[in-house]
Symmetry: C2
Subunit: 399 residues, 2 copies
C-alpha cells in the first residue's frame, strides 16, 4: 500500500465533466489500494473572479482580507471534489489548508509554508478515506488565513507529500510533463522522462513554466520525487527526481525569458533604495544587482502592469537609472553546466554562427545564459535546442 | 462607548451598491465611537448556487462536505465587506465563524452554537477595528466546519452579542420590523414598536417570518435585546425585548400557517417510528403528537418537497396514518394569552360570526390557535387582526 499525493490545477477542474474525470482518476487510485491525498486549486477562473469582486469595492485592499477571500475558492473546489467522490461511493473528507495542518508565515498573498502537521490527514487516511485538501492556503500561528502566491497549490502538494511521507507526489496540469524547450518556440522539443530537481529549478528560474520554484525548493529540501502529468487524456509523465543530474555538463533543456524589463543603474543611483523597491520583482538574476552599479531583469509576464512599473521607476529614480525593455535571455540548462567552460564557449559560438548578437553572457551553477535582443529570442532558443542536441532519448538513457 | 452587533442578511448585500451602503452604515456606527461587530450572510442567492453545484455532482451529498461548501459563501461576503470598509479608511478585520470563536455541536447543516469565545473579537475591538464575522457557521470541537441552518446568521448575531456583552444587537433585513400580521394578508397591519421575546418566539413558531426561532431562544437565554430594522432606506424598528409582555391577555399580533401537511395517526400506527421520522419536520405543534394517537402539522413551505414527503409517509406507514393538506392555522399571540379563557372564547365567537368553521382549537402559553380550512386562512387572519384590534399605538403605549 502506497501513500500518494495528487494535485490538480484549477483549469483541470473548471467544468463539471472535468471534475468528474478527476474524481474518477482519484477513485481508481484509491480502489487500487493506495492511501490518497488530493490537493486542488480553485476551479477555472475563480481566483480572478474573486479578485475582481475585491477590485470593484477597493483599489488597494488589505492582503489579509484578500487571502480570506481567495481561500474560499479552493475551499469550494475541495468540498465539491469530495462530494463528487462520495457520489462514486468513495469515502472522502475535504479539508481546508488550515484543517489539513498547513502552517505558514504571515506574509499574506505570498506566504511560505513553515510546517505541515499531518496528524489529521493521517487519521482519515488510516480510516480508509480519501483526503481532499484545499491547496494554495494555510494558516499563520495567529490563526489567520494565508495564501501561498503563484503556483501555491504545487507547494501545498509537495509540502503535504513530505508531511504524510508519501511514496509519490503527482502533479496534474494541462501538459504532460517538462519539455526540452517551450514547444511553441521549438516544435521538435520533446518531453523529458526524467529531470533532476536542481535542473528543474534552474529551468523554472530561467523561464520555464510547468512548476513553480518554491514548490521545487520544497521538494529538494524534503527529498520529494514529483511526477508531472497531464490531468485529462492519456500522456506520459516527467519524473522530477531529487537525485543529481543526468550527467555533468550535459544540457537537458532550454529555457528563456522573452520580453524583459531591464533596469540598469550606475553609481549615481540610490542603489540601496532601488534594490529594496525591486526586491519583490527580482524573479531573475538578482545576482547582477549586488554592486554599486548593475542590472535587474524583470520578466514582463510576471508583473501585472510592466509599463506602469517602468514609469514608476523612471519617476522615482530620476538619477542614474535606465529602464528599457527590448532584451531577452536564453539559457541552456544542465546539472553543473556552469562549471564546464566548453558549454559557455559552445553557446557563444552557436549564436555567432547564426549571426545573433550576444549582449551579455552569464554563468550559473546549472545554466549558461545569453542575453540577446528580443527579436532574436525564438531563433536563439532553437539554435541552443538544436546545437546542444537535446533529445528525450539521451536524457532517458542516462537516468 | 457602546458595543453594537449588526447583522445583515444576504439579500441586503447582493449588489455592490448595497454592499457599499451597508459598509457606510457600519462605518457611521464606528465613527460615532462605538465598538462594532458585523455579522453577514452569503450574498444574494450564493447559498442556492453553491447547493446547485453540489446537486449537479451528487444527489445525496454528505452534510459535512456541504457545510464546508456553504460556509465559503459567508466567508466571501465577510471578506468583501471588510475590504469595502477599508476603502472607507475604517480599520476592519474579517473573521470566519470558527475564527470568531463560534463553537457548535456536530449536527451538520443544522448545528447549534454551544459557546462563543469572544477573546479574538475583543482583542480587535480593543484595537479600534470593526470586526466582520461570517455568519451561519461555526466549528465543532473536532475542527470541522458547521452551518446553523435556516436563519443561522441571526443566531450567530445573537450569540456573538451575548459573547461580547453587546449593548445592542441590530438585525437588518428587507423589512423594517415585526408587523401585527403579515401585511400581504392584512393590509392595515402595522409595525410594532416593541414586542417581548416570548411573544416573538410564539409569533415565529406559529408562522411569522422575520426572525428564526433558535435566534430568539438564544436571545431569551442570554438576555439580549434585538432591534429588527430595514437594511436599506429609512424606516423604524421593532425592539424585541427579553422582558415580559405588553400586558397579560393582550393580543399583540396574528401569525398563521397556510397550507399545512397534516399527519394524523391512531393507535394502530407505529407512533414511535412515525414520531422519529417526523422529528426533523415538527416545526409546529409537536405537542399534539405525544400520545398513541394525534396529529402533526408540517408547514409546506418548510419542506423542500412536501408532496414527495406526503407520498413517502403514506408508503412507509400504510397502517393508521392519514396525510392531508387542506388545513391552515391562525394564531392570536400575546403574553400569557393562553391563560385567559376569554381570549379563546372571543376567538371562536369572532370566527363563528364570519361563518368560518373551526376544525380544532389549541391553547398555548402565549397564543390561541384555531385550525381552519386553507380557503379560510386570509379571512380568519383578518378577522383576528380586526377583532382583537391590534394596533401599533396600543402596543407602543404599554411598552
Amino acid at each position: 500500500m502506497e501513500t500518494i499525493v495528487q494535485k490538480y490545477g484549477g483549469s483541470s477542474l473548471a467544468e463539471d465533466e472535468q471534475l468528474r474525470a478527476v474524481a474518477e482518476r482519484v477513485a481508481q487510485c484509491h480502489r487500487d489500494g493506495n492511501r490518497v491525498v488530493v490537493v486542488v486549486s480553485a476551479r477555472g477562473n475563480t481566483t480572478s473572479r474573486l479578485l475582481s469582486y475585491a477590485g470593484k469595492v477597493n483599489s488597494n485592499p488589505d492582503n489579509r482580507e484578500l487571502d480570506m477571500l481567495l481561500a474560499s475558492g479552493e475551499q469550494l473546489s475541495a468540498s465539491l471534489l469530495s462530494i463528487t467522490l462520495q457520489d462514486m461511493d468513495i469515502r472522502s473528507v475535504a479539508l481546508t489548508g488550515p484543517q489539513a495542518g498547513v502552517l505558514t508565515c504571515d506574509s499574506h498573498l505570498n506566504a511560505r509554508i513553515s510546517t505541515v502537521d499531518p496528524r489529521r490527514m493521517n487519521r482519515y487516511l488510516d480510516e480508509g478515506a480519501v483526503v481532499v485538501v484545499a491547496g494554495f492556503q494555510g494558516e499563520t500561528p495567529d490563526g489567520d488565513i494565508t495564501t501561498l502566491g503563484r503556483g501555491g497549490s504545487d507547494t501545498t502538494a509537495v509540502a503535504i507529500a513530505a508531511g504524510v511521507k508519501a511514496d509519490r507526489c503527482e502533479i496534474y496540469s494541462d501538459v504532460d510533463g517538462v519539455y526540452t524547450a517551450d514547444p511553441r518556440v521549438v516544435p521538435d522539443a520533446v518531453r523529458m522522462n526524467v529531470i533532476s530537481l536542481p535542473e528543474m529549478k534552474t529551468m523554472a528560474h530561467h523561464g520555464a513554466g510547468v512548476l513553480n520554484e518554491r514548490a521545487i525548493d520544497y521538494a529538494l529540501e524534503q527529498d520529494v520525487t514529483i511526477h508531472a502529468r497531464k490531468a485529462h487524456g492519456d500522456g506520459g509523465e516527467t519524473i522530477l527526481s531529487p537525485e543529481g543530474g543526468a550527467g555533468k555538463a550535459r544540457i537537458v533543456g532550454v529555457a528563456g525569458h522573452d520580453e524583459l524589463l531591464c533596469v540598469k543603474f550606475d553609481e549615481s543611483a540610490d542603489a540601496d533604495r532601488l534594490r529594496a523597491e525591486l526586491d519583490d520583482y527580482q524573479f531573475f538574476v538578482p545576482e547582477m544587482a549586488e554592486g554599486d552599479s548593475g542590472i535587474c531583469m524583470i520578466p514582463r509576464d510576471q508583473v501585472p502592469d510592466p509599463d506602469g512599473l517602468a514609469g514608476d521607476i523612471r519617476k522615482e529614480f530620476p538619477q542614474g537609472v535606465e529602464v528599457s525593455g527590448s532584451l531577452a535571455t536564453v539559457s541552456a540548462v544542465g546539472y553543473e553546466a556552469g562549471k564546464d567552460d566548453s558549454i559557455r564557449e559552445a553557446a557563444v559560438a552557436m549564436l555567432a554562427e547564426k549571426n545573433i548578437e550576444v549582449a551579455d553572457i552569464m554563468v550559473f551553477e546549472h545554466a549558461v545564459t545569453c542575453m540577446v535582443d528580443s527579436k532574436d529570442f525564438a531563433a536563439a532558443t532553437r539554435c541552443f535546442h538544436d546545437g546542444f542536441r537535446i533529445v528525450n532519448k539521451e536524457v532517458a538513457d542516462v537516468a
